[in-house]
């Protein structure tokens, strides 16, 4: 699976969860801010988003990824944006 497909999957999930919780997204070019200074997700929304992405990866690509592993949680602002979440997934798959 390539990077673009994973990013599509992340963006689709972000879009879905933002609609579900009725929040506006803060975007800059291809970057969508999620959690942190510029993002509009609160912690509950973030947890739901991560669970959604993990489930989609498993269902669609048979890839089991934990976005809240100790390694992921040790990073600085791992959930800042769609791009930082993409990096987590790529790292976890390699």
């Amino acid at each position: 699976m390539n990077k673009d497909k994973i990013l599509d999957l992340i963006n689709t999930s972000i879009d879905k969860i933002s609609k579900e919780f009725d929040i506006n997204l803060n975007k800059k070019n291809d970057k969508i801010f999620v959690y942190g200074e510029n993002g509009n997700f609160d912690s509950m929304m973030l947890v739901v988003l991560l669970a959604e992405i993990e489930e989609d990866l498993l269902l669609n690509y048979k890839k089991e990824v934990s976005l809240t592993s100790d390694k992921a949680m040790a990073k600085t602002t791992p959930f800042e944006s769609n791009i930082s979440i993409l990096d987590l997934i790529i790292e976890s798959l390699n």
Binding site: E20, F21, M44, M45, L46, V47, A51, E55, T68
Partner: protein
């Protein structure tokens, strides 16, 4: 105690009706007395601890009665828990095992001295009872009761109601139902299977008047039984306990069966049998009567029972200095009544916010597409815990995860949003028709 079972059997000897209907066979008092006189337990002494592996069949019932008459300490067990029998024998300080009418001496590999509580009971020359907790929160605990106070409540039993009993030989509720019926001289039916349609047909055919059951059984029945095809005119009383009942389900049954009285029961093996009074029809508020007392500390129910257990044989004393036992059941109060709202141990803590999964379950069950649901907490690195759901959908319906989420968020704040929803087909209840909980 001025009775023994031999006398009671003699008292009802001319009763022609069946006392017990079990395994499609009827048993009369005279059958039991006949077997009582033939059964030899002469090698067992008063005060011995005897594990009795059986069911409510003629042989097991007769052994049970004879052992109690001899003032033994009985450990009733069923073959369903076979894998744990050795653990039970060791933890109950068993001297003898009776299985398939054979009496075998048990040689312990760990206990070479007797437990002080057993020794104390022996000095009173009272019969005793050892039951095991279900072990959902750790190893099963051995619960020792003095049978003298246990039987006091049955001496004047006079309500003759044909009763269908779900509960088994190793459960305090099963023994309570059996002994009440036995003393009152009323018929009791032990079903061969526990599927809703079979049970309701049996209720109709055997003209059952009292059905003690669980909310899970009632929920499954509502989803699978066509009540309009049944004649349930003999059924007078349905009691339900052991887990939470949602008001919508109770209301449905009360509307459907206006002539039947529905009552909630409440009990814990550690506390013996409690006298429960319902506030009124249509209410889930109850209170505890008799000489038992209760108090509510930080929404949790504490009870001081009139005749509690003597103690655990393999765990520390759970009573406080005043004799109160923390039930860990959460309640809301209304005057002298209270309503159970959940278990302390079921509470899910999401980022410091405490959520009662029973609230979510009760709401989801108002959705006609959903037959069964279990909500439970799972560990989460960010929020500590989140909620997951296992849902069983009605066979004639379809739904999706998104539809369920939308339904939840119509009523609850986002914190209740489950992070995972599993659609399951298998049953989510145990052989006692009580819900499995993943975090137990």
């Amino acid at each position: 105690m001025n009775f023994n079972f031999e006398n009671i059997l003699n008292k009802y000897i001319n009763t022609d009706e069946n006392l017990i209907i079990s395994k499609t066979k009827g048993l009369k008092y005279s059958d039991l007395l006949d077997l009582y006189n033939k059964t030899d337990i002469s090698q067992i002494k008063p005060g011995d601890v005897v594990a009795l592996i059986g069911d409510f069949d003629a042989s097991s019932v007769v052994f049970l009665l004879k052992l109690i008459d001899l003032k033994c300490i009985v450990v009733p067990l069923t073959k369903e828990t076979k894998n744990e029998h050795n653990y039970f024998f060791e933890n109950a300080y068993v001297d003898w095992v009776i299985e398939k009418e054979e009496i075998i001496k048990f040689e312990s590999k760990t206990n070479f001295v007797n437990h002080p509580l057993i020794e104390k009971l022996r000095t009173t020359n009272h019969a005793g009872l050892i039951l095991f907790s279900s072990g959902t929160s750790g190893k099963p605990k051995a619960i020792l009761h003095d049978l003298e106070p246990f039987f006091k409540r049955f001496i004047n039993a006079d309500k003759k109601l044909t009763t269908l009993s779900f509960l088994l030989f190793d459960h305090i509720g099963g023994l309570n139902t059996f002994f009440y019926s036995f003393f009152a001289g009323s018929k009791i039916i032990f079903p061969d299977e526990r599927k809703p349609q079979y049970i309701w047909n049996l209720i109709q055919d055997e003209k059952v008047e009292l059905l003690p059951t669980s909310p899970t059984f009632l929920r499954l029945s509502k989803a699978s039984v066509d009540f309009d095809k049944l004649d349930l005119t003999n059924l007078k009383l349905i009691t339900f306990g052991t887990e939470l009942m949602e008001e919508s389900l109770l209301n449905w049954y009360q509307d459907k069966f206006k002539e039947i009285d529905f009552r909630q029961t409440y009990g814990l093996t550690e506390l013996g049998i409690l006298k429960i009074k319902n506030e009124k029809r249509n209410s889930l508020f109850i209170t505890i009567g008799g000489k038992s007392e209760f108090k509510i500390i930080e929404k949790t129910l504490h009870i001081k029972a009139e005749h509690p257990m003597l103690g655990y044989l393999n765990s520390k004393n759970p009573f406080d200095n005043d004799g109160f036992y923390n039930t860990k059941d959460l309640v809301v109060e209304k005057n002298e009544y209270f309503k159970i709202t959940g278990r302390e141990t079921d509470i899910v803590n999401i980022g410091g916010i405490k959520i009662n999964p029973n609230d979510l379950e009760a709401y989801l069950l108002t959705n006609k597409k959903i037959n069964e649901v279990v909500a439970y907490g799972v560990e989460n690195k960010i929020l500590g815990q989140t909620i997951n759901l296992d849902i069983q959908i009605d066979n004639n319906e379809t739904t999706s995860k998104d539809e369920i989420v939308k339904f939840i968020l119509k009523k609850f704040p986002p914190i209740y949003r489950p992070t995972s929803i599993n659609f399951v087909e298998s049953k989510q209840y145990n052989h006692r028709y009580k819900k499995f909980r993943k975090n137990e």
